[in-house]
């Protein structure tokens, strides 16, 4: 049986005291699995990802990563020690670095290794053509390709994607969706995709959860 990558136990989150965004959420993610979380905006989908990445602290509950507690009552592992990959909807490439440097940013190792690895990942995402270009000269789709390459380059075991394709137009979206899925499969990367778009979830995910009114439930469809 596949290893349990992530286990969420009784997780609650509130921005302000007594104003729960969601409460008592439980689910697990297994190795190689692509999990979708579907729901209208404002239900706390992004907050859930931020909790897993370590950018916020939960008000209650625990998060286990490969069996180790990373968020809990007396335990909190800071985000830079978790190394959970993150892809956001907004274009957040470092504007002062070119594509290659952006991808190199998270890779460790010798100068040569880093460059080669970065180029590999740019190639994987068909972005090697603009490795020397700066973000402000790239289109939205190109930027998102570089951003995904940047996230995957350090080879994280878990990647979180927050509405990754929502700002792209339809054709681009379909293409990138397929390619990304393929890539995750190839590298056996586990992944959580948050989206409000049913199609995203249906095409990409092994399993889909629905987050609504602060509760999580299995979605009706499953592939």
């Amino acid at each position: 049986m596949a290893k349990e990558v992530l286990k969420i136990v009784n997780l609650s989150f509130a921005y302000k005291k007594n104003k729960d965004i969601f409460s008592n959420i439980n689910f697990s993610l297994f190795e190689g699995e692509i999990l979708g979380i579907l729901g209208p905006s404002g239900t706390g989908k992004s907050s859930l990802l931020r909790l897993i990445a370590g950018l916020e602290k939960p008000s209650e509950g625990e998060i286990y990563y490969y069996g180790n507690e990373i968020s809990g009552k007396n335990k909190f592992l800071p985000p830079h020690k978790r190394g959970i990959g993150l892809v956001l909807q907004e274009k957040v490439l470092f504007p002062h670095l070119n594509s290659l440097e952006n991808v190199k940013f998270g890779i460790k190792g010798s100068k040569k290794d880093r460059k080669e690895k970065a180029l590999d990942f740019l190639r994987l995402l068909k972005a090697e053509k603009f490795s020397q270009s700066f973000p402000n000269s790239l289109s939205g789709g190109e930027q998102q390709r570089v951003a995904i390459a940047r996230t995957l380059a350090p080879e994280p075991k878990l990647v979180l994607l927050d509405e990754p394709f929502s700002s792209l137009d339809k054709g681009l979206r379909t293409a990138l969706r397929e390619e990304t899925k393929e890539l995750f499969r190839k590298t056996n990367t586990s992944c959580i995709i948050v989206t409000h778009d049913r199609e995203d979830a249906e095409i990409m995910c092994d399993k889909v959860l629905k987050l609504e009114e602060g509760k999580i439930m299995e979605a009706l469809f499953s592939s």
């Binding site: 370590g54 504007p95 998270g106």
Partner: protein, 542 residues
């Protein structure tokens, strides 16, 4: 649990907090006067003079606010949106008046416009008029002071506003145009409300500097709150009441800042993008072209060219051998070293504090760094007294027990004064620099296993090059002009250009003051010209 390792990891957090504590201490010593007794002099003050001090100060800041808004926002709007005669150089030359301290403009104004001043003499000569004929109105009054402060300080409004106009989402403006708004309507309905936080940030600096000034208002013999502070101290030998008055001044400014902040937090304040494309600037022709040129040239002329001409006039006709022969080199050296050191210290400190604020929402940190920005509004000499009291406390309670040295009268005191005085300039600039960096960039970097410190050095600093340089240069140009605190805190035989100028100017020996004053302007021009270059380079699309 707090282990040694933990402590070391937090070291970089503790240092700025410790510094912050040191820096606000002199302010606390000033504010502490409020806990002391309010003596009989208060009833005298309230009955006879306080109402006029307060009303004069209010008239002054209201007048200065209105005029510097018109000048600062107006020029910023013209140079960002239109093409007109002289724009390419006016765009950066507009900030040159920053090199002229208000007190020097005040001195040259009386030199020009007094009944027998140069300007009146020229008019009489040109039109062959009687020597009793006086063409220009008297400037030694509150209106003269409003003009002096506005024309030396409007560049602060120009700098912040122009930056905001440039960052303004282009599509928003285009949407406005498509909806059929005229450019004028667009200015008042859309552009200005959108950049209001930036305008107010610049205006806050103008108001604080106006309130803290002593030199110019004293020269014009206007009884403001600040001159009242000095009168109480010098004339009644009553320092504690003077410090209490200063504390009320600080509280007034604090309320103003608080209102502005809470107002600002109500509106979501975001710069659309870190990258922007060139807005098409409209080419002006004919009368409009001329008007735009005049509108941008006038502040430069009154705030910079005119005083330079008058200073040169004095310096050429009455060369001050003493100044030029004696200490010019060491005075120059002192001024530059102090300016650059303070600039670096202040900027690094503002970077650290604002970086901490980005990751740790702490009201204490917020409050104390806000308190420190008040230092800008404190008259220099009262700040100096706060430092003297703080140092003598430190000297007596710690330092002397350990070492044979005293902090008082050391350069550390001067540095402290400059950092407190100029922190607002650095912090305002750095803070808006941080605001322009999307928070998601931090999130992504963290997920790429980078520590916050790595993010600071590899992402924030490179992205904020412009803000850092701007902060550095603003602080340097402020320190070069700083006077009252330098005067009292300096070590033996230690002169700066401002001190040398003041020593002459305080006795209205303007001719002797002219040479060092020109030096101040020249040295002050160096950072300003760098700043101008930044402005030129930040033109979108180029």
């Amino acid at each position: 649990m707090l282990t040694l390792n933990n402590l070391l990891n937090n070291f970089w957090k503790l240092i700025p907090i410790f510094c912050l504590f040191i820096f606000i201490s002199p302010l606390i010593f000033v504010l502490g006067s409020l806990l002391g007794e309010f003596n009989d002099n208060w009833s005298h003050l309230i009955e006879y003079v306080l109402p006029s001090y307060v009303s004069n100060s209010l008239i002054l800041i209201i007048g200065v606010s209105i005029l510097s808004l018109i000048l600062g926002v107006g020029t910023a709007w013209f140079v960002t949106n239109f093409d007109f005669f002289g724009k390419s150089w006016l765009e950066w030359a507009i900030i040159l008046p920053l090199a002229i301290p208000p007190y020097i403009l005040a001195y040259t104004f009386t030199g020009l416009f007094d009944s027998y001043g140069s300007a009146n003499e020229i008019v009489r000569y040109l039109f062959n008029l009687e020597s009793s004929f006086i063409f220009f109105p008297n400037v030694r009054n509150i209106y003269g002071a409003i003009v002096v402060f506005s024309f030396t300080l409007y560049p602060y409004v120009y700098l912040t506003t122009r930056m905001a106009f440039l960052n303004q989402s282009r599509s928003l403006m285009e949407a406005g145009k498509l909806l059929g708004n005229s450019t004028r309507l667009l200015f008042f309905r859309l552009a200005v409300p959108l950049v209001r936080p930036a305008i107010i940030a610049g205006l806050a600096l103008v108001i604080m500097e106006t309130l803290s000034d002593f030199g110019a208002v004293e020269h014009f013999a206007i009884q403001t709150f600040t001159t009242g502070i000095f009168r109480t101290w010098y004339g009644m030998y009553d320092l504690s009441t003077a410090m209490q008055l200063s504390s009320f001044l600080l509280i007034f400014v604090a309320i103003f800042i608080f209102l502005e902040r809470s107002e600002r937090s109500k509106m979501s304040y975001s710069y659309a993008n870190s990258t922007f494309k060139k807005t098409d600037s409209l080419k002006l022709v004919g009368l409009k072209n001329f008007f735009a040129f005049l509108f941008c040239f006038l502040p430069l002329f009154i705030g910079f060219i005119l005083p330079i001409i008058e200073l040169l006039n004095w310096a050429v006709f009455f060369p001050s051998e003493n100044f030029l022969s004696n200490n010019l080199i060491s005075t120059l050296f002192n001024t530059i070293v102090l300016g650059v050191t303070a600039g670096i210290l202040c900027t690094i400190f503002a970077l650290l504090i604002n970086f901490l604020k980005r990751f740790h929402k702490s009201w204490l940190l917020d409050f104390s760094s806000q308190l420190l920005t008040l230092g800008y509004a404190l008259p220099g000499i009262i700040l100096a007294i706060g430092i003297i009291k703080f140092f003598s406390f430190l000297d007596k309670s710690f330092i002397n027990l350990l070492l044979e040295v005293t902090l008082l009268g050391s350069l550390i005191g001067l540095m402290l004064a400059y950092v407190i005085k100029a922190y607002a300039l650095a912090s305002n600039t750095i803070e808006s620099g941080f605001l322009r960096i999307n928070n998601s960039i931090d999130d992504v970097s963290l997920s790429l296993k980078k520590t916050k410190l790595e993010i600071f050095f590899k992402i924030h600093i490179p992205l904020m090059k412009t803000s850092i340089l701007t902060s550095l240069l603003l602080v340097i140009s402020e320190v070069i002009k700083e006077l009252p605190a330098t005067l009292i805190l300096r070590p033996f035989n230690f002169d700066t250009l401002a001190v040398t100028t003041y020593i002459y100017a305080s006795e209205e020996r303007m001719y002797e003051a002219a040479s060092p004053a020109i030096m101040i302007v020249l040295i002050g021009l160096i950072p300003i010209i760098f700043l101008s270059k930044i402005i030129r380079d930040s033109r979108p699309g180029s």
